[in-house]
Amino acid sequence: MSGADTVGRAAATPGQPQPYAELGLTSEEYARIGGVLGRRPTDAELAIYSVMWSEHCSYKSSRVHLRQFAESAPPSAALLAGIGQNAGVVDIGQGYAVTFKVESHNHPSYVEPFQGAATGIGGIVRDILAMGARPVAVMDSLRFGPADAPDTRRVLPGVVAGISFYGNCLGLPNIGGELAFDPCYRGNPLVNALCVGVMRHEDLKLAAARGTGNQVILFGSRTGPDGIGGASVLASATFGGSDAAKRPSVQVGDPFMEKLLIECCLDLYAGGLVTGIQDLGAAGVACATTELAAGGGSGMRVDLDVVPLRDPALGPAEILMSESQERMMAVVEPGDVDRFMDVCARWGVLATVIGEVTGTGRLEMTWRGEQVVDIPPASAADEGPVYQRPIQRPAGQDALLADDPAALPRPEGGPELRAALLSLLASPGLADTAWVTEQYDRHVRGNTVLAMGQDAGVIRIDEQTGLGIALATDGNGRFGLLDPYAGAQLALAEAYRNVAATGAVPLAVTNGLNFGSPEDPGVMWQFSEAVRGLADGCAALGVPVTGGNVSFYNQTDETPIHPTPVVGVLGVHADVTRRVPVGLRTEGAPIVLLGRTAAEFGGSAWAQVAHGHCGGRPPQVDLGAEQALAAVLTAAAADGLLEAAHDLSEGGLAIALAECCLDQGLGCQVALQGDLFTQLFSESAARAVVAVRPGSERAFAALAARHGVPVQELGVAGGDSLVVQGSFDIPVDELAAAHTGTLPGIFG
């Protein structure tokens, strides 16, 4: 007699109280489980349903909205696998496919910044690995409270060190991302990580257990009592023990094991030894077994007694819910098991046959010889509750829009404009990020063509042909607050523009949707507007959403964060040697502004830095103009017409020009027409500044005219100062001092 809550006992004791509420299930959801099973669930089954029907795993509040990504997706021949897989897969030509995805690790990173952020990297890398791809790069999109807030000094260094520790030890170059600060993230930082992987088309793997008699193998780290907040509830409720409370609820990462797991998996794939594979992330064995079985439309029998444990005291519910890191689950044909084990042994990876695929359509598990789980797997994996949460436009929204920054005092005259530029350049959100990014290995693997400080990260995929990819992530919570529909489209447009500025053709989109509580109707309005905006934007730009991640409950008490959709855009470079960097490099190269500038300061960096203001309308979205601009930038790069290109976003032309000068230490002289303040600091979208290769001026002007993109000749590169004629000049050294001093001054 094991003392376990068996299927037989569950059937015999229908009235036994169970701690479903502590596990996060409503009484309706608990009753629904009873309906599915025709009896009360066992403790182990309750563990499975509680994690699989959690917001994190089931998307129960977001699913009705996220459908728009598929429904309004533009036709794309490039999409090989889409939403619902571990990550989307995109055809980039020459037989290569790329898979990429953003994932959030916000809450763990606040509780335990180092391990929270580290395991965030580990988790997204396994998602990519599970698609059959070799992970080739990571990016990180980070948002914190005010840079000088005491808690930011605790959280930021820990998060950065965790990403550095895990990503560097995996040998994955970090090729860029974002760093932003806003009071709304003070008690709820956002740590979103992106991973991208590469494979040949034929290497695509799916999370499906098929073929009766095929073996189910758990491999990687042992299973321990980490990351099981929910299971501790069960353990306490069942055994009355107090030890569980002392267990860490944030997982601890071992990147060395993950590196071995990566190489081991790639060898297994190369040997054709895997018919289905799933990574173990949130909800661990519970999630992997139910999703594999549901994905294959099969049944599965699992013996929990053979799961290798770090702590022999773990019960079945804890084994199922453990979020121990660096584990994978594979489905293997019986005749391949020996060779599978040989590959694992070569890499020193522990592998154990824990079960097999059956034809019963049931997921069955035993522990100490008794049956503790017997459920239809799809009921946990795919058929969870779906909620149409109440939606209500917040009462204060109109007042927010009416709070026009036009009323704010503006800098006038050369000295004030000069001071405004330097103050923006030195503000934490626009300052040089080297304090952070120098902690990341951007060179490993030897294929990094562009990385942090550039508009997008660029990775070479094929050394012979020069085929490569570009990736950018962008988001702006202030725009999201003012108008979540437009804010999502502006984030998409910026990432799209950034990718195009390097010369890449934008191809596909991933997203990390960071919002407050879905139980707040105002937050649900923000969410539904943002999703609608993003879906419409992707349709207009012709780039499909391939997958992503929703993170709700980002709030402190009753105050949600700004709606912060982080959008990642993937682009393709036919030849990475044609990439266009940010920095000016040739004296006399003409500098040209592309796009239209209007007085748009709602949610702008200037309004925030100069006045702590966030109100009015965000910049106008014109996706047709974005497409035309991108067409000019990519064609000009392919034809070799450009020396430098930089998108205009936060801080407008002033910050863009300063960054163009700072990259290589070369100045420029520009002459601006009209209102200088608007010209310098407006954040009108669909704009970029370029330096034309001397001799290519006419060809470039003709190209821009052909696409109907407005052109404004600003001046030329050269000298050792940024000169705005008739107004002010700033030596590049002074720009550099303002730009580089801020973060080291705060973080040491």
């Binding site: 902690q439 290995d441 490993v444 030897g446």
Partner: protein
């Protein structure tokens, strides 16, 4: 016949593919060696690449030192085989006592990935012969435990014998004593280097081509033999 240069992969090695690429770019044939190998297969030179062998557990390089392949490499190195350890490879060579001194946590205690200027101070080794004496090169430094330390007597001996192969030319990035970026053994065939020359072989993916000299040097040394 092309010269064959081995590149060892330990569990956790990361820059092995980059070292192999640099060897090929220099015109030699890179040959993968596995940490469990007990045969150097007649290779003319061997590189220990960067990374986190065995997860840097215990101490950087402390476990790799006991890998089976090291049982072959140590006597071969003592007998004159050209060996280059880069970053983690340098740490392993120190732990294996093929090179003097040790690598410790950076001053500032943070990992640094930065392009640095390095001055080549000894061009008599098989790995540096293609450089000019005191030539300054741009290479990538990327490490968390790159601060070179040794006791004063060892430092004096290294200086007297000209065993400091490279020093940081600009600001000291990691607190290395005497700005030391790389050292060699007494015979000169074993060189350890904290910065990564294999990441400076192509202006497309690195700070230029200044690092290629390490790989062309050893190729020439082998051809001249």
């Amino acid at each position: 016949m092309t010269a064959r240069v081995g590149v060892i992969t330990f569990p956790g090695s990361l820059d092995d593919a980059d070292a192999a690429r640099a060897v090929a770019r220099a015109g030699a044939e890179p040959v993968p060696l596995w940490h469990g190998d007990r045969d150097l297969r007649g290779l003319a030179a061997v590189i220990l690449p960067g990374g986190f062998s065995y997860g840097d557990y215990l101490r950087c390089g402390a476990i790799a030192r006991f890998a089976p392949v090291m049982g072959e490499l140590v006597p071969a190195a003592r007998a004159g085989l050209p060996v280059l350890g880069i970053c983690n490879g340098f740490q392993i060579l120190c732990e294996a006592h093929l090179l003097p001194g040790a690598l410790t946590r950076n001053a500032g205690l943070r990992f640094i990935d930065r392009v640095v200027r390095v001055r080549i101070e000894d061009t008599r080794t098989p790995w540096t012969a293609d450089y000019a004496q005191d030539q300054e090169i741009s290479v990538v430094l990327k490490s968390g435990e790159g601060a070179y330390v040794a006791d004063p007597a060892t430092l004096a001996r290294l200086a007297a014998a000209g065993q400091v192969v490279a020093r940081y030319a600009g600001a000291n990035p990691n607190g290395s004593v005497g700005d030391i970026a790389g050292v060699r053994n007494e015979a000169g065939n074993v060189v350890g280097l904290m910065p990564h020359p294999e990441h400076a072989i192509d202006a497309l993916t690195g700070p230029g081509t200044d690092g290629l000299g390490f790989f062309t040097s050893v190729l020439r040394a082998m051809v001249d033999q």
